[in-house]
Amino acid sequence: DAEFGTNTDVSKAVGECGIITSLINKFNADNPDVHVIVTTVEWPGYDQLTAQFAAGDPPDIVTVHHSVLGDYQSKGLLMPLDDLLKTVGVSPSDFTDASLSGVTKDGKIHGLPIDNWTMLFHVNLDLFKKAGLVNADGTPKLPASVDELMAQAKQFKEKTGKPYFVQNLANEVALYTRNLYTYLFQQDSDFFADPKQVKMNTAEAKKVLEMYKAIYDNDDTTKDLDYAASINAFLAGEGGVHLNGTWVIGDYTASSETSGTALNAGGYAVYPYPQLFSGKKAQYADGHSWAVSQKDRTPEEEAAIGKFLKFFNDNDYEWSRTGHLPAVKAVLESDAFKKLPHRDTIAPIATLGTPLPSTVQRQFAIQDIIGQEMNAAITGQKEIDAALADMESRINELLANI
């Protein structure tokens, strides 16, 4: 974030870090009476946030995922924002449906939604061309079923000598989990029918795991990369499709516009996950929001917070340049947004995106469990059935002890 350390011209910034830093700088510059101090934490940072809440000294405003709002909200740690938003003139009806439902808990808004995000297929078009997987119009051919995926991956590897997928499988849990959720949604599996009880030992889940295991066994994916290394690998042209979130679109686009890079050679494209199963079209999505901790505050302090939330709401467009989908309907529909690179191809996410039921707590802990068990199954350390059984019992044990 060094390059944007003092930048207040938001329009020049790229990447999550750059944009948010610039936004906050701008806010501080525009509002000399309020000063926002930013604390970055080790990702994902909820351990420290929990410690802060436990210590009774949480930050005033914190970005949290929609998926964890419930944890804190259920302990009464977050301030309902309905009144505050009303006073600064932000109406819940401004938000997209996905965003609104993401931040609404017990009928109250507990966070200002700023985006929706999901995982995407980031495509290296140069390699796709070499593999012969490009349509006449220059768009990549994406699979429509599991078999097609396997066939295309095979072809890709034969032609390019490189794996189809670039995935960060080393020391990773989130990617596995999100993939699983997405493909369970696509099979209409209602694994969280009861938010206190998960059903994972199902045929649907087994299908997903078998598919990923096949990909792994066939060497159709990179294997031993961690998150940072996978980004490097994709940028270095080590594979065709990178599974990563909306937040890297800005960076990748920038890279594809720099001559000499692997993405510059043939171009860069990005798509939602293809529909591989016959169920409802869907993919797992989550979002960020600004939550406000429950504290005794003076009216001035509340007003400052309101100002800050309003500011972000007003600048949702700038934030959406990171690649995330805006939380404000108007921005989503604006021309400026549509003109951003690749937004045309990912816009459907606004309707595809499906979160877990908001009543499910400890979603990060659950994600750890799912990721661990999937990793074990896919890399062959465990039988798929055993992994699914363990997954289910571990999650249920966790949920039973909340």
Partner: protein, 282 residues
């Protein structure tokens, strides 16, 4: 193999072979650090496309310039200095007092208390961490300097070391001073304390190093960015946002954070070595 610089006749060739082996191993040992330093001197973009470029020019110090532009690093270093320095000073004071007390003064239950303190050496930090965190929450000590300093003060190591050291000082000195009409505190302050300077150096260095490098407690107690210690601060930059910033920058942060302590180490190397040895004797 174990002869020191003795003049024993006919012992040199074997010694030389061993020395060469040790040098080679030292080079291997240093390789990761050298490699990381080389990485930190490379342009991020260049590294993205060609990892082998670390082995040749061009090198650049841009990464370091970028670090300096991030003002937080200095704040973190300051925090680390305050926390480690404060802890070190307080530990020296408390341990010296307690060491003198245990070594020289008799009071009810002295030996039992000393044994209990020694047992404290075996208590892992994690066994008390959760409770301590709650205690500090209740006292509103989190995100304060004393909140970061205090837990380190309970560690029994310093007391143990200083007690052993005081015990090793001839008791006749106390007795001579007693006959010279000096009070107990005067004996401690004027006669014995000046003699413990080597042990103070040892303990000071140890305390400072371990506090500087502590990861667990600051992670959950100093949770505000302005209260981060360098260790936590550097860890916080390693993930999420920073990942796209490139390897060279990351490595330069590692080097930047490691350098002060390494330089400090090289300065005090002699003391540290004798310190470690001294601690081991007893």
């Amino acid at each position: 193999m174990s002869s020191t610089s003795s003049g024993i006749v006919g012992r040199s060739t074997g010694d030389r072979i061993i020395l060469i082996l040790v040098i080679v191993l030292a080079l291997i040992m240093m390789a990761p650090i050298a490699w990381v330093i080389a990485l930190s001197l490379k342009d991020n973009k260049e590294l993205m496309t060609d990892m082998n470029s670390v082995f040749h020019a061009p090198y650049t110090i841009n990464n370091y310039i970028n670090i300096l532009a991030t003002s937080s690093v200095f704040r973190w270093i300051l925090n680390s200095l305050i926390v480690s320095g404060g802890l070190t000073v307080m530990t020296l004071i408390l341990s010296s007092l307690a060491g003198y007390g245990f070594a020289r003064l008799n009071f009810p239950f002295r030996n039992a208390l000393f044994i209990i303190v020694l047992l404290g050496l075996a208590v892992p930090e994690q066994a008390v961490l959760i409770a301590r965190h709650q205690l500090f929450s209740w006292l509103k000590f989190h995100n304060t300097y004393h909140g970061l300093i205090l837990p380190g003060l309970a560690a029994p190591f310093g007391v143990f070391l200083m007690t052993q050291y005081f015990r090793a000082i001839p008791k006749e000195l106390d007795e001579a001073a007693l006959l010279d009409n000096a009070s107990r505190f005067k004996i401690f302050w004027k006669v014995l304390l000046p003699l413990t300077i080597p042990a103070q150096a040892t303990l000071g260095i140890f305390t400072f190093l371990s506090s500087w490098n502590d990861y667990f407690w600051p992670l959950i107690s100093g949770t505000k960015k302005e209260m981060y210690t360098l260790t936590i601060g550097i860890a916080s930059t390693q993930t999420n946002f920073a990942q796209s910033e490139g390897l060279g920058f990351l490595m330069s942060q590692a080097v930047f954070a490691g350098a002060p302590i390494l330089i400090l180490y090289l300065f005090f190397q002699k003391y540290i070595v004798t310190a470690v040895s001294g601690a081991a004797v007893r």
